[in-house]
């Protein structure tokens, strides 16, 4: 009779990484639908390209690194990276932009650092920043909302645009593309216009952010709240990102509403909400202590505002996340929770203890 003698505990909740990643992807689905509604099929095609590239790159790297392929390919992390990166790209980006960015994210930012669990930086954001710096033209060709509907650009047309670059009706991307709300504010503030003038003179602005953008934002918010409810993520990072961005933008808005956009505009524009719920909460590269996550989120919120307002990029989400990724280990070190039984003691007190203390439990 051979009895198994594993170490306790002998039961498990059944939770696994694949399930967590799948739920994160699922939480993005409403936002994807809304995005497609407003901006056409571009996002869906980009997602397909990005996910396929991510899986291929991951499999290739796992093979080169001689790691088991099946468990890491099915963990869902590569799929999520592709999904998030695709979400950040302009909808009519040429296919090679998506492929290049995703491959860079998986190969350089993730696998070269040791694969799942070992990447210090968010792979999707590394891929995005690489693209933004290397191909500024392609990365800023955003289209106004509803253009796809108005021009009746269908799925096949979008496919043609993405893979060949040729637009129907002899249009070109230059003719179609238009600044995002953040772009518009940034450029036109430079032309000495006030924020309210900018918003009134542009059709792209909606109630809070841009038309369409704010709806996508709503669905992202909803998906994020669902993730918190499902305990896939904790509330700390999203709340800290949004809270700090709100507070700092509110402060400057009150100081001078003509030069500084409103807090709601900042929250519902660009990638703020996506970053707060889906990007900054990437557990691998984020801070891991409860208090640390709050500082980490505050840092991201502040950097987003600083880069948007005084930096040279209209949206600073990717840079803000990467900067705070860098700070995460230090934050973790200084934000360890108070361990049970250490009351009214100095932080250094009782750090080193005698290992003789045994655990007397009546469990």
């Amino acid at each position: 009779m051979n009895l198994a003698t594993p170490s306790s505990p002998h039961i498990h909740s059944g939770i696994h990484i694949t399930g967590m990643m799948a739920r994160v992807c699922l939480a993005l689905v409403p936002a994807i639908i809304a995005y497609t509604w407003f901006f056409g099929w571009g996002l869906c095609i980009n997602i397909l390209i990005a996910v396929a590239t991510a899986l291929c790159a991951e499999a290739l790297m796992l093979r080169i690194r001689r790691r088991p392929i099946a468990p890491f390919l099915t963990d869902g992390s590569a799929i999520l990276t592709g999904l998030l990166l695709a979400f950040c790209l302009p909808p009519f980006s040429p296919w090679w932009i998506t492929v290049l960015g995703t491959a860079f994210a998986i190969i350089v930012a993730k696998q070269l650092y040791g694969g799942l669990g070992y990447n210090p930086f968010n792979p999707a954001m590394v891929g995005y920043v690489m693209l933004l710096i290397s191909f500024p033209l392609e990365m800023t060709q955003w289209v106004p909302p509803n253009i796809a509907n108005q021009l009746e650009i269908g799925f096949l047309d979008t496919l043609t645009i993405i893979f060949t670059g040729s637009f129907p009706y002899f249009l070109s991307i230059d003719a179609l593309s238009m600044a995002t709300p953040l772009d518009a504010v940034k450029t036109e503030l430079g032309l000495n216009l006030t924020v309210s003038e900018i918003i009134q003179s542009n059709a792209i602005f909606g109630d809070f952010g841009g038309v369409g953008w704010e709806w996508v934002g709503n669905w992202i918010l909803l998906g994020g709240v669902w993730l918190i409810y499902k305990r896939i993520i904790t509330w700390h990072i999203p709340l800290a990102v949004m809270g700090s961005l709100f507070v700092i933008s509110f402060f400057f808005f009150m100081l001078d509403p003509d030069t500084y956009a409103s807090p709601m505009f900042h929250l519902f524009s660009g990638a703020t909400l996506l970053a707060a719920f889906f990007i900054a909460t990437d557990p691998v590269s984020a801070s891991t202590t409860p208090r640390g996550r709050i500082f980490y989120g505050i840092g991201i919120g502040l950097f987003i505002y600083i880069i948007r307002t005084w930096g040279s990029y209209p949206d600073g989400v990717a840079f803000a996340v990467l900067l705070m990724n860098m700070a995460a280990p230090t934050i973790d070190y200084y934000t360890q929770p108070r361990v049970f039984g250490y009351i009214n003691t100095d932080k250094n007190d009782g750090k080193k203890q005698s290992p003789e203390s045994d655990t007397k439990d009546n469990i």
Binding site: M1, L3, A4, T5, P6, S7, S8, P9, H10, I11, H12, S13, I15, H16, I17, G19, M20, P68, P71, F72, D75, S77, G115, L116, G117, Y118, R231, T234, P283, V284, A286, T288, T289, P290, R293, D332, Q336, P337, R338, V339, F340, G341, Y342, I343, G350, K351, K352, Q353, S354, P355, S357, D358, T359, K360, D361, N362, I363
Partner: protein, 563 residues
């Protein structure tokens, strides 16, 4: 309503408790053999006082305590001692432990020497403690700390005596059944313990999923008029049954790290211990049986009143388990229990549950995924940790064998409850890593202690040798001084010796100088070299500086080599 408090984290577990509570508790069959380990408690092992071949009676002392922190062992039934030898027991090391093995005679004859206490109030508390010590009572919740020590507050005041009936692990129901069926006895036991500790008030903490036990206790508290006892329901969260966690929930106080509950005026005992105290004091019976839950892959999951020393396989078969299809047998609950390597191991004073897994039919404990994924630092473990540790960091450093860092992150405050493990999406055996790190650190400390002792011994030896040498020299000096003739006159003989030595030294010097001026290696030189040497010698003659002389010598030699 009393205000309750919370501890951080914890997990909600499926209870699986109903199956084993459908039948009342009965005495288990008398086994053919009883195996009584000499160590069933924390502290020094007991020392056997019987010999092979001795007839023993039920309740007879067979091993006396090895030291102050120890507990005696009694025969659970009458019979003959057939061996005092190593036998498989439940221990992670899988090593055999010394046990007294008794062939039972089936007569169950009690030892005549039983001393019930008529009225414990008339005895001083230390007498009660002695009585409890002699009955071999240890903490029956699982730790097995000798009860008489935990019932001694010294000169400190005990504000609250807590009786732990939380029983938070799935499957285990022995405490609940005990409270349902023996509520009065438990309360009498509690009152004796309160008297021994001179505690002000008592709380019985019980999880709110045990309604019947709660009602039974309340009724008996009312009946006995013990208004100093509060029976309190606590939320069902694992690990509420942990001593420090239960104290936190009931009193809001935290037991200091490295400290004892007594430091905050609290003492905590298991309900089973209270029942054993009742039997020892009121009936004069030592601890020879206990309630045990047999659950999992058995036909009839139930609780039995089991004699200490009963082989576990006997109980599994009594409940309809199949010896041939066993795959894993856990002693204790699924969260903290130990997997048994040999089912002939006996039930001890601390065995509360036997959880059976079989290769056929219902398998309550599925195996883990074979493939462990890397940690993604999601922090689920930190959320679940009842001690507020950061298991993800502990794991990181334990894996890296950075044992200083792992202690900085409070490894030794980990209670190994398994919550982190349970919620880990990467299915990492975290507790296993923490146990490994603890063991490694203990081993290192042990080695360091040994090395320190060795070093001290070595230093002492060196000092001793030094001292001996010095003393010897002193003695020689004294001796010489004593031999010298008075007046300090130098003898002729010595003078001659000195002169001879001086002459020898002079000769040696002269010889050396000769050699220096005309080294052997200056033969067969070219005229140029000879000229150089001559020049050098002239210079040397001019200056009498020994340093330069030697330098020149070297030069000559090197020249010689090159030529």
């Amino acid at each position: 309503m009393r205000r309750l408090f919370q501890f951080h984290g914890g997990v909600q577990l499926k209870e699986h408790k109903k199956e084993a509570m459908t039948q009342p508790v009965q005495a288990a069959h008398l086994p053919k053999q009883l195996v009584l380990p000499l160590q069933q408690h924390i502290g020094a092992p007991a020392e056997a006082v019987v010999a092979v071949g001795d007839k023993v009676l039920k309740g007879q002392l067979i091993a006396r305590p090895g030291s102050t922190v120890s507990a005696p062992v009694h025969a659970s039934s009458s019979g003959t001692v057939i061996a005092i030898a190593g036998h498989p027991v439940s221990h992670p090391s899988h090593l055999n432990a010394p046990c007294v093995i008794i062939d039972t005679d089936g007569e169950e004859r009690w030892h005549p020497d039983r001393h019930p206490v008529a009225d414990y109030h008339k005895l001083p508390p230390e007498k009660i403690r002695e009585h409890i010590r002699d009955a071999g009572i240890v903490g029956m919740g699982g730790a097995g700390f000798p009860a008489h020590i935990k019932l001694n507050a010294g000169n400190r005041v005990v504000d609250t005596l807590i009786l732990n009936g939380a029983e938070c692990e799935p499957y285990i129901t022995c405490d609940e059944m005990l409270l349902r069926e023996r509520a009065l006895e438990v309360i009498v036991g509690l009152r004796i313990m309160r008297y021994a500790l001179q505690a002000k008030r008592c709380i019985i903490g019980i999880e709110n999923n045990k309604a019947a036990a709660f009602r039974a206790l309340q009724e008996q508290v009312r009946n006995t008029g013990a208004d100093f006892i509060d029976v309190i329901q606590v939320p069902t969260v694992y690990p509420t049954g942990g001593e420090k966690q239960l104290i936190r929930v009931l009193t809001g106080k935290e037991v200091p790290a490295k400290g004892l509950p007594l430091d905050i005026g609290v003492v905590c005992h298991n309900v089973g211990t209270a029942y054993a105290v009742y039997r020892a004091v009121e009936l004069g019976e030592p601890l020879i049986s206990r309630y045990v839950t047999i659950a999992g892959s058995v036909a009839h999951a139930r609780n039995l009143d089991v004699l200490i020393g009963t082989p576990i396989i006997d109980l599994i078969e009594e409940c309809g388990g199949n010896r041939k299809t066993l795959s894993r047998v856990i002693l204790g609950g699924p969260m903290m229990g130990t997997a048994l390597h040999d089912v002939t191991a006996p039930v001890t004073k601390t065995t509360n549950c036997i959880l059976v897994n079989s290769t056929v039919g219902d398998v309550p404990l599925p195996s883990r995924d074979k493939h462990v994924m890397p940690c993604i630092r999601c922090g689920n473990c930190a959320v679940a940790c009842p001690v507020d540790l950061l298991p993800q960091q502990l794991y990181w450093y334990a894996r890296a064998k950075d044992f200083d860092k792992v202690q900085d992150y409070h490894l030794f405050d980990c209670i190994e409850c398994g919550c982190c493990d349970y919620v880990c999406p990467s299915q990492i055996p975290l507790v296993h890593y923490f146990r490994y790190a603890k063991t490694e650190i203990w081993a290192q400390q042990h080695e360091k202690t040994l090395a320190d002792i060795a070093r001290e011994r070595h230093q002492f030896r060196e000092q001793r040798l030094e001292r001996d040498k010095r003393e010897k020299q002193e003695r020689h000096k004294k001796k010489r001084a004593a031999l010298k003739p008075p007046g300090n006159a130098v003898s002729k003989e010595e003078e001659a010796k000195k002169a001879a030595i001086q002459a020898a030294l002079d000769r040696a010097k002269a010889k050396r100088e000769n050699q220096q001026t005309e080294p052997k290696n200056t033969q067969d030189l070219t005229p140029e070299q000879q000229q150089k040497i001559d020049e050098a010698n002239a210079r040397r003659a001019k200056s009498n500086n020994p340093l330069i002389n030697s330098a020149l010598d070297t030069q000559n030699v090197q020249q010689d080599k090159h030529s």
